[in-house]
Amino acid sequence: MRLEYFQMVDRIAAMDLAARTIVVDCTLPQESPIFEGHFPGYPILPGVLMIETIAQAGGWLVMAGLRFRQMAFLAKVSEAKMRSFLTPGQVIQVEATQEHDGSGYAVLSGRIRSGGKLVAEAGITYRVMDFPNPALRQGLFEVARRVGVPEELLADA
């Protein structure tokens, strides 16, 4: 994870488009300016970045289901719970399940686990739209390749 660049997802470990599920692996950095402020002397991942991590994991699933023809933007967070802290260097897994594939929107539920223990959970609603410009589309494709999105899903876009 590169927190200051909002690169929350390290690698897609599993994605099942038929079952509408995804699992991603992430490792918190040992050092980050974010930890210097949150909190001095007691570095933990901010809860809002746990939610962002869930949202990004689910976003890959939504966009993969659309063969990357459209972009998923975070629109709503519901029932978010941060059950325990995440500290520098900690390894986490994020699971997300798409609950509904709407027209112009998608609804997912997601969870963060570490060592099998549930750390955080949230419901996420995305607004699904055409890419607003080619630069975003290109940039997203580069990240998609880095996190391990299968090339055939990008080829259709």
Partner: protein
Amino acid sequence: MSDSATYEKVADIISEICGIDRATITPQSHAINDLGIDSLDFLDVAFAIDKAFGIKMPLEQWTQEVNQGGVYGEEYFVLEGLARNIDKLVAAKG
């Protein structure tokens, strides 16, 4: 489900999700112009309607049709029109 029953269900959903007094909602209410439902709340309403009726409302297509002037917004966003289109979608899925 009859047109009327569909409308009643839609009105109940809007009232609950958007916190609008049920008595102020009528079949002639425009979801945006009269009830003031914003685009984010409308996503919640759409999700609840999709779930309740087991359909996928083609909101992108409807919006495109309205924006292109093919149909008036009333066809999809006044509640009696919305209910009528929901019934069509339910019938189409068999």
